[in-house]
Every structure is written in structure tokens, then in C-alpha cells.
Symmetry: D2
Subunit: 349 residues, 4 copies
């Protein structure tokens, strides 16, 4: 529920709305803005008696958020959220952000090589898994903390920002220390304990859609992050489970415009996991940009045939270069640009 | 199974291969070509003793088609099939074909208005249902033969070619008489009696993927058409059944590059049925072109709010005009063009 | 919409309701009954002005059928439909009917052997495909009319009733002549031309659920049959498409109680196609009876290893005998019995 | 990989196999048995040179486990695992275990009432959520530790054993302290950090199948538990995501016999979450027992209409009593019995 204040409402009037909300047993979220000032009432508001609020001085109107998710909805906030990263890179603005890199961090040589290659081609964020969620306990599980350190080193060397996955609470803290964006993977989209912790850690979160998650469920999982105070959330479509073994998953690109109409959060697409086959990644990355995605996330490996994980879906560096050329033209066709990588590395203190 | 002849093999040698195939109880399909001459052995060739064929004079090699579908596979025929329509319009070439029009033919005014609008915006083929497969027996079932006559009239007036659906054997004959392309709908993709008849009727067929059909099943259904001698087949991705009520179907655009790698048949996408929501049709039509589709098929209605079927997913004419502008730019970004409509109507004798 | 007459309403009053419905442009279906007399208004009744009907003499109340399907709904008819077959066998009563036999009719020896085996074990209806819907055009397509004649012969020899599939309009007529129940297969569930024809042919129809069909769509397809006047309809759950290659389909047994609450039509289950693996057929056949199915349909072949189709999912005769013993006990556990086969063959005139 | 020892192999010979496995860089799992003694080689054994092992004295043969999961497979261990609970209750034996209780622990009165009701009807294990995974952050999240204490109290009062869900590492420890079985929910089936921790905690684990998980993925998740040394694992089918809104999920009962053929772990079914509708729970619980499930898990609430969660799918106590009567008869029909609750409560020290 949103309590929209009259133009010219005083701070005292806003404060009184906040107090009343709290007396009703809910949390209040004051949202000052250029266009309007509003106060959000956070929680399951089905039984709130709104008349107590609408009668307060300075209150213009009450907006009932009809969706089960509240703070992530466009009803709650109309302008698309701009997630601002170190160095000023923005996800959710006019520019389309390209995230690229290997599935797993395997070694310093592999990672730095990959980072240089994707930066040269125009990517602005480096991906690479240090903690790997693997279906089998006997598969390569990632380098862990060592992997995080290598990612931090790659950032220092290339100026690329870093996104990497965290799989548990300790992992969130470690990733938050080393990376610019904490990724919550598809398998953990409804790991609510993890979401709550990630919501409190003060770093942007990239939340991937679960393989069987509806859009509503994805947005409710994002709501867990916002409910804890973290508004820097980027969503990611990465393919849903389908019945056809011809592809690993079904990349549901319609989710891009659907999310954009329901939520103010930016959304990107991951055509690598979405398709699982290298030669399908390129057309689907193009399609993702054409569909209006705020970014794409692509697996690129210096030597895909030697990759410890996901080799089949990792692009060769020259393929990625060609892809960048194509998505630049497609971005232009719909009035957008590809975001440029930072010129100078951000030094971490 | 393909029996590839040596360069310089004589017609007698080819004939002998044909005879041997027939003696083995199979059908032979001689395929002369600039690059190579081959003879296809049509049928379930698992038990064929290929040594009898490889020993024949003039035979260079035997290629086993590994897929369950044979004549539709790229193994069988390497070059993409170009379906050539009256007036020289081609589906499967460099140009991307746009098919547009209302879900159902409702009246002469409605259809001619829609046809002029979509032609003005740049579409080259008119769609419109005369026989409508409706989930409920109480829903509008289409104008039938009257609808076909109106489509023929629209062609005469605008120069647009015509595609419309046939639902049974009589319908195939009637559509073949009036239209340029016979559409087999998603619900009939495995109506094998219908496929066999459509394979004998001598007109191009647009075969839509069923809602739960794998790519292999789609290609096997196309094989029914080719097995009857009709090689003028266009496939269409139109959305598969998914679990999320947020959209009507899941438009599986990855099917575009997957089909293009497995088969030489052209494939288009239908983002209208694929999404079911007008505001999602535009981004997904763009994405379809970016993914490499050989065409798109879009529902446009002069007055969507009054449509007798599928109003929610029909574009307003001005939206379609804007869409055409965008897909032209995206086609260019990947080195293709949008096919132009014919300048003068084809007169039917 | 149902117009329920007062107890003691005269035939003249009923006739007047019928006339008024027809004047409104709809079809009327008088439904005299022991409990109540009602008149059904068939069609899309959303815009009917019911006040004209409720004001007529003898009218007690108007019942709006809330579902998109009308005549198949429990709102329209409360008692479960009993489909009565030659010799008095009933599907939809207290007894659970067992249909068994080979996937395809292959030869007289194979069919008669199978028929005798399943009858000896207690089945009352013989299944066997004469017209086979095959995914590949090169697979065995069935014996056609010859197969129908063999089925008729098996009936004469064993007293088993016959169900077999029809795939097109000519096939419906041929099957109607030779068999007791016309099967419409899953792939044709939304072949509306076929449904309309089967609705007019005057024989019971077994309608299988499509692989991606919702229950609502299944019931709407059944409504096509009832709308044409055929009320002798049996539904069949045979597995829906799923994402796990571990089984051929996902046998959705919950569909049994769901259909039974929404519709008065009887429903059976086909665990052979539902699972695709012989060793899963037995537990799932038991589960189907436990879930309340009005019958089961099981593939049994004298020599599964030599079957021309579906050998992997066909039971060995001794397995079927064991299965019958188990389902008899389960039927008893829920207060039902397994229907007995007819003692003497029905002679066809 | 399994190294099977000769009958009469000495302990020294076994030890040498163990040492050799460890020298190869893998873990060894000696498995003495009445029939045979074997040593398991745990890990991704694709590159192991088995000749070094087969040449050792006392080694009879090497069995390659063909599945990606190893220790959970029937190849690895042929006899069904019997998970033995306090008081001697066994899951995985001849008896079918019934787990019942409310979705959430709401209060002492509610829980103790429910526990007495389900025990009176014949259940032997009490379910009840203390930590609740809720799609929305604003929904009731459970009583937490207080809930665990109430569950422990219910055990003391009724003699029912306790199963309840843990959602994170701290939760696993807390649940392990108070309950008899730790439940890992469907949303956490691939929360690998949680699985690893639960594998080390020394209590039986009930692992629910994820909504989009294949059987192979379910078994690989179970392998995470066994790989950590916990062999007391019970699997649970609870419904997969489907396309039909008629039910909450699709209860995939075929998973029961499929798992039983692939794995030695016991498997139960949860028809409450599987269907989401009270009137469908009863037939599907019956079907689960008929399909061969080693147990069922059913939501029962003293007053379903007042339940804080899942009220729609909770049985009324009298419905549960009737269900117990039916499943007893069905269990008998397939040669099993329903397990009896313990006569005297287990006192926790």
C-alpha cells in the first residue's frame, strides 16, 4: 500500500503517516521524490484499515498494490531502477550491459586471459564462478575463496567489474567483500534464508530465475531482498525447464517485456545457460537485446574444449567479438547502446 | 539413406541405383544437383543392406541419415530450401518475410482494411482465418468458404499473397484453390491424415509446431509432407505450453537456430500466439528477427477491441507500422532485408 | 444455461421454454428427469437475457453454468453418465472396466491369441490399433480395414467388446461399423472436424487427453461431441508431456478426481502410454484404480519382444494376469468391482 | 565403481584395496555384507584405471556404476535401505508409514490436538512446519524454535515421531536436536551447501523432489547426503510443476516405481502438496500406496478453515480417519501393512 502525499506536504505530515503505519503494526518506507512524495506500507496489507491513513493531513491518495509483490512492482515505483555500480556503470539505464567470462574460475592464467579477451571485445563486467552449484557431488565444485581472489585480481588488471555466485550465507559475505555484484543462482532462487541475508549485505544482487519459477515467484523472491532494505537488484532470465532435449533449457525471452511491465527492476538474459549449446548462444544473445533486455550474460572461455564446466556452451573468444559487433547494431536499432567498460580499474581499499 | 554418385556418373548408373532401391522395397528419390548427384532411399532404412548399393557402378558413397527424419534433414540436403511463391516472393532466402493480418476473416470491410494497412506498412503476405480451430464449440468458428473468397479478393486488391489455415481434407482442397500457402495449425501438427493429404496437393504448406511438440516431432511431421512429394514446406514456431500463466504460451525462439541447424526447411515465428499479449508481440517479433527467423507472422486488426477472436494479441495498425520500422533495422544488423510486397496483384485464372 | 422447471410443470410449459430459447437464437435441450425437468440452452450464453426465460410460467429457476464447457459439466447434469455398451456392459457405473490388448493389430494369430489371453485374465474390452498415428511416416501405419475385420472376428470369437482408434472422417465411419467404441487419440483431441463427425455417428467415443491439454480443454473437446448430440463419451487420461526423460509421459492421475468433480462423464486411465515402460505399468494401473478411475486400458501382447509398435510398454500375458488379481483387490478396497466380460459374444447383424 | 571381493577374501586384502583406492586419489567405502564384501570407490570415476584394482589379490570383479549417481544406485547396493527410527519404526521395509499433521505449527493447542487426532487414526509420524519456506516475505514464516519445542512436546505426549523442515545450516542443527527426521524441502533440493551440512549431522533426512527436478537430479542430490556419510535418506515425491492450473502441481506417482528400480533408497509421496486440493488428497493418497510408495505424508489440521497456511489442502480429521481405513485395505491388496505408531513415547535425554 502506498500513501501518496499532497504536493507541498510537510515533513511533519510525512512523519505522522510513518508513525501511524507503525502503530498499525507495519513498516513504513518514506519515498521522497521529485514528482511525488509517498510512504510505502510494507507487508501483507490485506487487512489494513486505510481510512485511518487517508484521513491524515497532507495525504492525497492511497494506492493499493494489487500484486502479491509490493516494493518490486511498477505500481510502487514507476521509474525503472538504475543499479549504479563502481565507476558509474549503470544497469537499468539506456545502455545495455554485457557480462562475459568463463563458467568457472579455473586458474589465474585462464581467468586473466578470459578477462582481457572479453574486455577487448567490449564487455564491461566479468563473470566467473568461484563457488559452483553442481548437480553431482563428484563434479568440480569451484576454487572457492582462491577463485574470489583471482576475480579481484582480474578486476585490478582489466577494469572489469565482477559478478560471481554465492551459495550460502558465508559465501554471500565473502563474495560481497571481493565482487561488485552478488549472484544468487537459479537453484537458490527460493532459498529464502540466503535471500534474507543477501538483502542485508549492502551490495547489488543479480537474482536468477529458477528453472520452474513463474514471473510472480521471481518477483516475490526479489521482494525478499527489497524487504530487507536492498533495492539494488537485477533480475536474470536464464531458461526454464522444458520438455525438449534439443536444448538444455527453454530461454523464455518473453519474460523480459513481461517483467519490465510488472516491475521497475532491470532484467538481463543469460543465453548460455538458456540454450546450453554454443551455436545457439549467438542468435539468442542477439534476440535478448532485441527483446529489450537491460543486459546479457555470456559464457566465454579462452579454450572451451578444456573448460572444467559448461564447455559446450562457452563461446570461443572470436565468436564473442563477432557477437559484440552484432548486438551493438541491434541495440542501436532499438535506440540503445552497449555500455562501455571502465577506462581505469577501480582500486579496492 | 543417400546414395551419392561419382562425379560423371551416367544416367544409366543412376537408373540402376533407382531400380535397386525399388527392388529392396523402398522408394527412390533421384536428386540431381550442380555439386553432386545423389539418390535418396526413402523409408525406415535401419535394415537396408547398403553393400548391395555401394557396390553398384558409379556410386561414390553411402550417407546414413542419423536422424529419424530423413528428407527434411540437412544431412539429406545441405542448402536451405527456398519456397518460391507467386510473383517470385521467396521464403528461405536472404530476405525476411512479414506475414500480417487479422486472426479471423470477419467481413469484407474488416479484411480489405486490414490488408491495405499491413501492405502499406510493408507486409508481403496476408494472414486471416476462414476456418478457425476453436477450443470451445460455441466460439466463432470462422466464415468458411465465404472467408476464403474474401481473402482471394483481398489479394486481387492489394497484391498481398495469402496464407490461411485448413483443418480437414476438404478444407485443404478449398484453401489450395484460393490461397498461396496452406497453413496446418498447431493442434493439427500430428493429424497425420491431414498431413498426407496436404503433401499431395501441390501448394506450399506452413506447418506450425504443436504446443507440446519437440523439434524432432515437428520435423517428423514435416517429413510426412515431403514423403508425399511436397517439398515446399515452411515451419513455424508459435509458442509451446508452459507453466506460467503470465503469458499464453512460451515462445521458444531457440527453436529457430535449432531447426536451422538440423533441417534445410525455412522457419518463421509467430509472436502473436506465442505471447498472447499485444504489448509483448512487438519485442518478441524483434527478437524473432534477431534470432534469424526467415519470417514473422503477426496478428494485426483494424480495431482489435472489436475482434471476434484473439483481440488481446492483435496489434493496432500504427503499432504494426512502428514494428516494421524496427525489424527493418534489426534485419540489416544481421545482414538481411525485409522482403517487399509485390507491386502488382497476381491475377488468378 | 439451464432452465429448471417447477415440479409439476406441464409439457406445454416446457415447450414454451424450448420455443423461447430458439427464438433467442440458441438450441434447446429438454432434459426430463425423475428428480427435475430442465431445459438446457446450448451455446455461448454470456449475452442471453435470462429474464425473458425466468418469467415464463412453470420456470422455477435459471442455473448459469459457470464453466466454459456446458453439457459435460456436473452443473448441467449431476449424475455420472453411464455409457452402456452392447450386452449391457457399463462404463461409469460401480464397476471398473478393464480394456486390454495389443498396441497394433498385426495378424489374426496375434490378435486372437491376445484376445483370448486378456479375456481369460478378466478383461472385458479388447483394444488394438488398426489405424496407427505414428510420429514417423516410415513407421508401421497399421493394417487399416483389414485390422478392423480382425477385431470384429476377435469379438465374435471371445465375446470381448472392441475399441479402436479412428484418425479421420472416413476412419470414424469404418470404425463405427466394426467396433463398439470409437477412440479419438491424444494427437487428435483438438482435431475439431474429427470431433464434430464423431459426434454425429451414434457410437460411444473414447476421447483421450492431449499431451499438453488442460482439463478444461479436454472437457471442451468432449463438449464438441455432446454439442453434436453424442452423449456416450468416455474420457481417458494417458499421460501429459513432462520434462523428465525417465518416463515417456507423466501419467497425471490427479486428473481422475479432478474430472470427476467437474464433469459427469466417466474417465479411465491408460498407464501403458502414460509411462512407456512395462515395469511401471503394473504399479500405475493399480494406482489408477485406487484413484477412482472408471476403467483402465492396458497394452498386452502375446510376445512383446516381437511387437511392431510399443513393445517396451506391453505387458506379458502372465503379468496382466497378476495385475488383474491386484486390481480386483484394490477395487474392493474402495467399494467397487472389476466388470466381468460378456459370457456370449454379441453377433453383429 | 565397486570392487567386489572374492568369497573368503581376507581383511588384509580388503585393506589393500582401500589403500590403493586412496592412493588413486579417491575415497574408499568398505561394504562388508552377508552375500558379498565390496569396496566402493567414491567420486567421479570416469578416469580411474581399474586394472590396478582388478589385479589386486582377493578381488573378484569390478562393477562400473553406469549412473551419474553412485552410492544411491541399486547397482551399488541391491537391498532396499531400511531407515530405522527411534523405537524401531522402519521406513523402507514391508510396512507403509503414514506421516500426518498440520502444515505449520501454529500453537500448542493446535499441534497437540492435531497430533492426538492423527495418532488416533493410525499415523506414526507427526509433521508440522516450524521454519516455513514461503513464496512471499510477508506471509507467515513459522514459529521457529518455539515451533520445534512444541513438536518435541507433542512427541512426548503422543509417542509420534517428528519430521520437520530445515531451511538453512542453523536450522538443520536445531531440527536435528528436536526432531527424528530432518526434512529438506523441494525449494532447497539443490541447495548444495545445505545438503552437505545435513549429510554430516547424523540424523535421517527426508529429501523432497524439487518442482522441476528430474529423477536423476533428485538422486544426485541424495548422493550429496550419502557422499557426506549419511545413508539414512528417504526420498519424497511431492508434485512437479505442470501447465494446468486445475491443480497446484502434478503429482508424478510414476516416480515411485522409477526411483525404486534405480535406487535402494525408500520413497514416499506427499499428495497434499502434490494436488493442493483437499478432495483430491484422498484419492491420490490411495493411489500412492497402490503404486508401491513406502509411505505417505498428509496434511491434517484440526480446523483447516483457520489454518495459517495450506488450509485448502489440509484434511479434516474425520477425512483422515476414513483415508486410513482405505489405505489399510489397499496396502493389504499389495501384500503390505500400515506401520503402527509406537505404544510409548520415546523420552529424549
Amino acid at each position: 500500500m502506498l500513501i501518496v502525499m499532497e504536493h507541498g506536504a510537510t515533513q511533519d505530515q510525512v512523519n505522522r503517516v510513518v508513525r501511524t503505519i507503525e502503530e498499525l503494526g507495519y513498516q513504513a518506507r518514506p519515498m521522497p521524490g521529485a514528482q511525488r512524495t509517498a510512504v510505502g506500507l510494507v507487508g501483507n496489507d490485506g487487512r489494513v484499515d486505510s481510512s485511518r491513513l487517508s484521513a491524515l493531513p497532507g495525504v492525497k491518495e492511497i494506492i493499493h498494490v494489487t500484486q502479491p509483490y509490493k516494493q518490486v512492482s511498477r505500481e510502487w515505483k514507476q521509474e525503472t531502477t538504475r543499479v549504479t555500480l563502481p565507476g558509474g556503470l549503470v544497469i537499468g539505464g539506456d545502455e545495455v550491459v554485457v557480462i562475459a567470462g568463463p563458467c568457472s574460475v579455473e586458474s589465474e592464467v585462464q581467468l586473466i586471459t578470459a578477462a582481457r579477451q572479453v574486455r577487448a571485445a567490449g564487455a564491461s563486467i566479468l563473470r566467473g564462478g568461484a563457488f559452483k552449484p553442481r548437480t553431482s557431488p563428484y563434479a568440480f565444485q569451484g576454487l572457492g575463496l582462491k577463485g574470489l581472489e583471482l576475480l579481484a585480481k582480474a578486476r585490478e588488471e582489466t577494469g572489469l567489474l565482477i559478478v560471481t555466485e554465492a551459495m550460502d550465507i558465508e559465501g554471500v559475505d565473502a563474495v560481497a567483500e571481493h565482487a561488485d555484484i552478488i549472484q544468487i543462482g537459479a537453484r537458490n532462487m527460493q532459498n529464502f534464508s540466503l535471500l534474507k541475508h543477501a538483502g542485508r549485505v549492502g551490495k547489488p544482487v543479480l537474482l536468477k530465475r529458477g528453472m520452474a519459477a513463474t514471473i510472480t515467484e521471481l518477483l516475490l523472491s526479489a521482494e525478499y531482498l527489497l524487504a530487507e532494505g536492498n533495492h539494488q537488484v537485477i533480475l536474470c532470465e536464464r531458461g526454464i525447464r522444458g520438455f525438449d532435449p534439443a536444448t538444455r533449457n527453454v530461454l523464455d525471452l518473453t519474460a523480459i517485456p513481461v517483467v519490465q511491465s510488472l516491475s521497475h527492476l532491470p532484467i538481463i538474459a543469460d543465453p548460455s545457460h538458456g540454450t546450453g549449446r554454443r551455436d545457439k548462444v549467438i542468435p539468442m544473445a542477439r534476440a535478448a537485446v532485441a527483446s529489450g533486455a537491460d543486459g546479457i550474460m555470456v559464457e566465454v572461455h579462452p579454450e572451451p574444449d578444456r573448460a572444467l564446466s559448461d564447455g559446450d556452451q562457452s563461446l570461443y573468444p572470436h565468436q564473442f567479438t563477432e557477437l559484440m559487433r552484432q548486438v551493438e547494431m541491434i541495440a542501436e536499432a532499438i535506440g540503445r547502446k552497449i555500455a562501455q567498460p571502465l577506462m581505469t580499474p577501480i582500486r579496492q581499499k
